[in-house]
Symmetry: C2
Subunit: 126 residues, 2 copies
C-alpha cells in the first residue's frame, strides 16, 4: 500500500484500483479518534453518551463525525430505539472487530514500549 510499482499492463488495473481504495480506507481509519472509538467499542455495544465519556477528550462533534465514517465504511453499526428520549447504540461489525484486533496490538505495543520511549525522548532533547 505504501509503495506503488505497477507496469502498464491491463491486469494491473484491478490491483491499482484495490490499492488506491486500500489507501483511502487506511487514511480514513488511521487517525487517533477513529482508533480510540474502535478500541472502546471492542468491549461491547455502547451508547453515544457512553462513548463520549469513555473516549477521553473527544468532542461531541468529532465523535459524531467519526461514528458516521465508521458506519459508512461498515465498521460500526448504529441502532436507533425510537423512545423518548432517543437511545442510540453503536456496535462493531465483523470488519470492525478485525480492525480492533490490530488496534489492540497497537495499544499493547504502547504499554510495552513506553519506558523505552520515555528514555528515548530524554536522549533526544540532548
Amino acid at each position: 500500500m505504501v509503495t506503488k510499482q505497477f507496469s502498464g499492463s491491463a491486469e494491473d488495473a484491478d490491483l491499482r484500483r484495490a490499492d488506491s481504495l486500500a489507501r483511502e480506507i487506511f487514511s480514513d481509519v488511521a487517525n487517533k479518534w477513529a482508533l480510540l472509538i474502535i478500541e472502546a467499542l471492542g468491549e461491547g455495544t455502547l451508547r453515544f453518551s457512553e462513548l463520549r465519556s469513555r473516549v477521553e477528550g473527544i468532542s461531541h462533534k468529532m465523535l459524531t463525525q467519526n461514528l458516521r465514517m465508521l458506519e459508512r465504511n461498515g465498521l460500526a453499526e448504529r441502532t436507533v430505539y425510537p423512545t423518548v428520549p432517543p437511545r442510540v447504540e453503536y456496535t462493531l461489525t465483523e470488519a470492525g472487530h478485525g480492525l480492533r484486533a490490530t488496534v489492540d496490538g497497537m495499544c499493547d505495543w504502547t504499554y510495552r514500549y513506553f519506558r523505552h520511549i520515555e528514555t528515548a525522548r530524554r536522549r533526544f532533547e540532548a
Copy 2:
C-alpha cells in the same frame, strides 16, 4: 488507554502517569503519515529521498516532521554520512519494528476487507 477509571489511591499515580504517556504516544503515532513511513521502513533502511518517493503523496515537510517525531520517540534512527552531497539514512529501531508489526496487521486488514467496505459504502449512500 481509552477508558480511565482510577480511584484516588497513591499506587494509582504511577498507573495514571503510564496511561497518560501511553495516550500521548498513541496520539503521536496514530496518524496516516507516521504509520505509512513506518510501513515503508519495515522493508529496510531508506534514504530521505527514497522515503519521499515510496510514501505516495507525502510532502517534503510532512516527511521531515514525522521523521523527527519518530526519532524523538525512539522508533526510527537517523544516520548521517558526512559526504558531499550529504547522505542520510533512516532505519527502524526495535521499538519501531514492534509497531511495524501491528501496522502490517492493519494493512492486511485493509486488503482483506476492502470489498466488504466498498459494498458497505454503497449501502450507506442509500
